[in-house]
Amino acid sequence: MAERSFAHEIGKLRLGSGQEFRGEGILAVTKALLQSGVGYVGGYQGAPISHLMDVLSDAQELLEELGVHFEASASEAAAAAMLAASVNYPIRGAVTWKSTVGTNVASDALANVASGGVTGGALIIIGEDYGEGSSIMQERSHAFAMKSQIWLLDPRPNLESIVDMVERGFELSEASHTPVMLELRIRACHVYGSFMARDNRRPPFTLQDALNSPTRDVTRIVLPPANYAHEHEKINQRWPAAIDYIRRNKLNELMGGRTGEVGIIVQGGLYNTLIRALELLGLADPTGETDLPLYVLNVTYPLIEEEIIDFCTGKKAVLIVEEGQPEFIEQALNTILRNADMPTRVIGKAVLPRAGEYTGEVLQRGVRAFLRAHDPQRLGGAHALAPEGPQQPPKEIQALAGLLPPRPAGFCTGCPERPIFTAMKLLQRELGPLHISCDIGCHLFSILPPFNLGNTTMGYGLGWAGASAFNKPGKKRALAVMGDGGFWHNGLTSGVGNAVFNQSDNVLVIVDNGYSAATGGQDILSSRAHNRSKSTRHPIAEAVRGVGVKWLRVIDRTYDVGRMRDVLREAMTTPEKGPKVVLAASECMLNRQRRERPAFNKAVASGMRMVRERFGVDPDTCTGDHSCIRLSGCPSLTIRPNPDPLRQDPIAHVENSCVGCGVCGEVAHAAVLCPSFYRAQIIFNATRFDRFLSGLRRRVIEFLQRRAERRRLRYAF
């Protein structure tokens, strides 16, 4: 994180007993880790948990004071493997990532650590990227918890509950020798709230203690015969221990009324949304006070049979509010009640949608349908605040839906990745359509307008592997894209090594912008910036050559669209066989601006001569065809109504947010577009020589301009 500072957030991590913490959910979790005496933290950045990683990366001093080891892991698998430190020693450890994608990557190590079990508390904090705003496939992390027997916490989304559950999670893990997952949905990660802080704690047993006097226990290692024993241990010892801890400490909560023939079982994370739905149905007040019995599952795996049976006793039916699919909890409830020979009906997906986020509106409909069928009096007696949906919106609003412009995510102003795809688009004009295998990262925006490039994406770092089947001689080669983040995550082996070993004849473009940009601009191995606590500046080119790539072209200024296109053409058409790599390297503009803009302003303020560049469009030569926009998509390159009374189509226009990256000019050249673009150089604090020269130029130019003006005046209207 060379370009951002989190000093303000670190201050919050230092709060002590009796002080109020105010801030975001994920930062509260970070604070809770330190309060719990965590010994080490690792993880891989990604929305919505990036903030945890970013802040700790910047908090070296604090971590050193507390004796906590922090690692920005190479991947989620590397992070999960870190939990090995809690297998033999009573050290608490926490790892974090975006789920389910990160959990997919981590599951090898997770399965191992879950099999052998842990001594110190092992907590996995997963940012569940599901529902609105999610950028990944819609799946549940719940399945991972079940398959490896990892306990799953899903606390009510307020800071107090979340922070409490971090502490409880460690205790549960230690009591049952089982790793524990803490699941936080996106909104809970970003929720601003408060809780009363406690003092941070140094871990009682440190990593140094462990290193100085190591212990080992062969029965913790997954190899016969221990692996068979582990399965029995899970069922016979760890499971009952967990049930016992959860019951004794009342991690699940009974809320609402105690009587009535129906009740609701809800995942903790959905509690607030459920309460709002009940409030709108007239069944709860704004504080959540309700007569409906509620059983809130802050632990969604394992389920506590006794609590469920108690809750369901005397009830005709219960509604289970469980987001996502498959409906694991609903199935388990049915099994539990059937085994106990209870007649209570379990209603879940029958009244709630199988797929999609459970919003307040969705829950309102579901609860209404549930009560209508199983407790109509209760529904009839309530004064609903919201009218019964789904209502048809008025006609003028329905018409709007089709009218509003879509807002796909796109490259930032001045992004160095844009010209790479401009070049690809220009190359396609020559070679025809290409098969392009994409990766995860900002560059995946190429699949959207205005570029519309790319066929598939198979996962982080898997861009080239995703093209590996197309290693067949033909008229065209397959083209793959991979970012520097994906490259170091696993692409070096799964993509580049794989292509070398299998003698691929395809082409890979590595987009090297110097950061893990899409996740917030974190430093990686090949970052060019100096990083106090990490080792950077390990060039990708060396790694690529190191695994045996012979054909490598490095472009260190992607803004040169013409050159970019020429090199891509060469890669796609050269008779040379074997894997071909084009390394397209230019710094992420967002991060560059974070560093350069303040420096520029400071220099200007101190009176230094500085030159700012930006682009513009001459409105009288722009004919409104917008070819330039179709080859760029830059947010600062937009349109505006044509000032010309004769022309009707809007003209291109460059906003003042332009950072002068140069792509507009390069595109105008490479694509032989139009002469409307100009690059303006604005000289701040001009020197005397500047003034002299500019004065000289101006005098001549203005003389000639006046002459031309006089000539034109002959034909003035």
Partner: protein, 519 residues
Amino acid sequence: MPSELPQTTPSSVTRPIRIAIAALGGQGGGVLADWLVAVAELNGWIVQSTSVPGVAQRTGTTVYYVEMSPKPRPGERRPVFALMPVPGDVDLVVAAELMEAGRTLVRGLVTPERTTVVASTHRVYGITEKSAMGNGIIDSSAVFAALNASARRLICFDMEALANEHNSVISSVLFGAIAASGVLPFPRSLYERAISDSGVAVKTNLAGFAAGFEKAQRRSTAQASAPAGTAPTTELGRAFTERIEREFPAHLRGLIQEGVKRLLDYQDAEYATLYLDRLREIRDRDRSVAAGADHALTGAVARYLALWMSYEDTIRVADLKTRAQRFRRVRDEVRAAPDQIVYMTEFMHPRFEEVCETLPASLGRRLLASSRARRMMAPFLRKGRQVNTAHLSGFLVLYAVAGLRRWRRSTLRYQIEQERINEWLAAIRSMASTPDGYDAALEIAECQRLVRGYSDTHERGLKNYRTVMEAAQRYAGRRDLADIIKRLRNAALADEEGNRLRAALKELEPADEPRLATA
């Protein structure tokens, strides 16, 4: 049994205030949410905010959601704040762009019973609007209509412009408008303290806030009026104005005046006279057919003929680029301070064709046909040229090219364009005089829109134009000819690759035999 159930009593607990903020990535929606949190806390309230930034941080839409309520008294329970807005349950909707305001309507967040809407009316165009080959801008009147119909109270004006006026950002103006809306029971001073406490760009943000506050209190009135036609200032102008008034219907005079002005600026009085002569022939056609009562064809040709006659050749581009007025405009556009020096660099890419076309016609034609000349010139024209117009070297070259204007009539390009214009006018005239052909003639006139831009873009446009014109001839006599031309023209403007145009042409083919006009 059911009678035993106690009914939930209506609570005495205050209902939290619900606020949804719709913004685009980079518009500062997060800052606004932070200020709202701060103002609530300064007032001793409890507050929660959340958002789903995700990948929307780049150019997508983000909704921030804030709930707040008075601090519960000791012994009272805290309200349970929700993490997302529920349709029909939002008190205040804030939108930092007009279409995003529209999106909150579609999401059902705005309801007449409850919701005050504070929205900026400016537009941030979507990529589909921007990249359209013609005019892709969405008509926003539908959004205004729906906002007026749906909001309990609507405060909307161009907050982006106001923010720019005060050198601030849109979130400060929105914040001011929120304060003025009175939805939140906080005094103005508290809002200002929230801004001051944040410590970032305090002065300009307070200015933006104040401007937003004041503007929101005033009823904003729409004041769009058509600019009045200009009176001539010279003898020449008066002579042309007289002729226009004598020969053309009153409602077209403003447009034709613009055409004359353009061609005077482009070339000279003779050229503007040629424009009016050409236009008069179209007017005659209008007068000779019943359909031409309101001179629709003259109107259309007046516009497109002026545009075509002022085709963008190298001389024109050099002329426009070197004008003093353009130098001033660039300074304005890049917001240069008076003491700053501004230089501009142009990106020119003249091809062999452009060079030949600027030469005298016979020479140009011979060169154009000579592959040897093309080869010899190739090294000089392979790469684009960067010309620094505010340096003498660059300026003098462009100035010299602009000076070729005197000899424009002898250039190859002039000859080519005049031939094309005459063909086009002939096609319009002959189409207008066929029975039922008037509408088709109108459509042909509008096909000039296809031909524009420079080099490759111009060539592509010309090719499309020819394709449409050929089709117009091929299907002459069909009753739906006007519709066919319009469809083809729109298809040509739909994509660069010409896929839609090809598809549209194919669609027409099988229908060749039936539906032939009886005439």
